[in-house]
Symmetry: C2
Subunit: 280 residues, 2 copies
């Protein structure tokens, strides 16, 4: 990369590659700023994460990744503002997967859960292999990104993650998975009925508790809770902090999709321009 | 002001004065950056507003005012990101007064509305003269700030504002107002009962419709609507845009009070430092 003659070079990594982030520290050292919606860099080993952050600091280059959580929603910058101005985060809880949000916003106990998954896969709302969503790994990665932003030393495998993929269906083809998923509908039905008996709804949530543990899984919430009001593929994040103690600071809206992600990446690019002396 | 030898001078106006903002353009010309939660500058005449913005641009100084709407909540910057990245705002609607939010979150038809106002005034939840809240002027100012941020040429007196202060009580002492407010409880009761009959709740809302009008007043919302879920003194703003069309982008949380406002002003100060080449 010949960046020596470019005063303000920026590289926008719009892949979800594991290999490209490995180059980030080297690119920073070459004077290149980085913007990315790719979650892999911030959810690799802590050792890599520290190298990345310290390299950005040492080279005075910017590394921006607002879109790694909630796409265009203002989540990372909101958290950073709170932390940098001395607020103390007591808990972050969020519906962080648009796909899982859609599945549980749609599931009302009438159509079997497995049918909703199949239909969503056909419509392209899930990854080609829905197990990539149902495993909870994507949510666990977002939990790691938010936790590290708060200064927690968290590795991805330390997030207690409740996979919705039955043990016996973890290997095998996508077709095999989809055709056998109905065997496990009863399990979700029972959870749904138990929640309904308490006048609650099921939501798949990631949670970060600095004093406790970081976890990802299926929870139930009263109908009056902010998480019960989600529709479609809404993401929602609730920040409970020392300042926002009685009532949380909440950000909600569609948190995935090419258009809102591109908008968020563009906003990071304009932010970078402001940092470099453009109009703020 | 002797700013000639200060490379990065910033003035933080934490007053609600009308007179101090009159000095902003002069201070910008002297090389001073400005940060303020004071709504008066952005809600004065359009002519003054244009002078202020063009002076900031011409002098390459920063003028930051995230806390003028929703205190520490990320509202102005979220709107700016959307607009600057080419999104089109279709409608902004919001509960923008912590005081009016509290009054209507608390009012459930049992205790008379006038009693809730009196109690809130005694606890310091309202301005010393509650008519300053009930007039809707504070909400109208926030509507003007958001509308101008979107590029709309709106004057404060063009916002159709429904005052909750009965005509006959607009003059006279605070005590007189408080003692006679109960005469008007029936009016609010009727609205409340009509809303309840539709399974809706009352909320005092500001709304900006670029294709229509900007208005402030009492509205009713279904119990499933995001605005029905507010508690305490929550603010909430829903951005409906071309990108966030089916589901709005929503920011919610306490939007007033010294601690969250100070946190927001501090965040603006750190943002300024980033623009001036500090760590981003």
């Amino acid at each position: 990369v010949q960046s020596d003659h470019l005063p303000h070079a920026v590289l926008v990594d719009c892949t979800s590659s594991l290999d490209i982030p490995a180059q980030y520290p080297d690119w920073l050292r070459r004077g290149i700023h980085l913007i990315t919606p790719n979650k892999k860099a911030n959810t690799g080993t802590l050792s890599f994460y520290r190298t990345l952050r310290s390299t950005a600091r040492a080279t005075n280059r910017h590394y921006l990744y607002e879109t790694t959580v909630g796409a265009g929603l203002p989540i990372i910058n909101t958290l950073r503002d709170l932390v940098q101005t001395g607020d103390e985060v007591l808990k972050i809880e969020g519906i962080l997967s648009g796909t899982l949000s859609y599945l549980f916003n749609t599931f009302d106990g009438r159509i079997p859960f497995s049918e909703i998954v199949k239909d969503a896969q056909k419509k392209g709302y899930t990854e080609p292999d829905p197990r990539d969503d149902l495993s909870g790994m994507d949510v666990a990665r977002k939990v790691v990104i938010l936790a590290r932003e708060m200064g927690l030393l968290l590795e991805l495998d330390e997030v207690r993650t409740e996979s919705l993929v039955p043990e016996s269906l973890r290997d095998g083809s996508i077709d095999d998975f989809l055709s056998r998923l109905s065997e496990y509908d009863e399990r979700i039905d029972l959870l749904f009925q138990a929640a309904q008996a308490r006048d609650e709804v099921l939501r798949y949530v990631g949670s970060i508790d600095p004093a406790g543990e970081c976890s990802v899984g299926l929870r139930s919430y009263p109908r009056t809770h902010a998480f019960a009001g989600t529709t479609g593929s809404d993401n929602v994040v609730a920040f409970r902090t020392r300042r926002y103690h009685t009532q949380s600071l909440i950000v909600q809206g569609p948190g995935a999709g090419p258009e809102v992600t591109a908008g968020g990446v563009f906003a990071d690019l304009l932010r970078l321009a402001s940092y470099l002396g453009g109009d703020g």
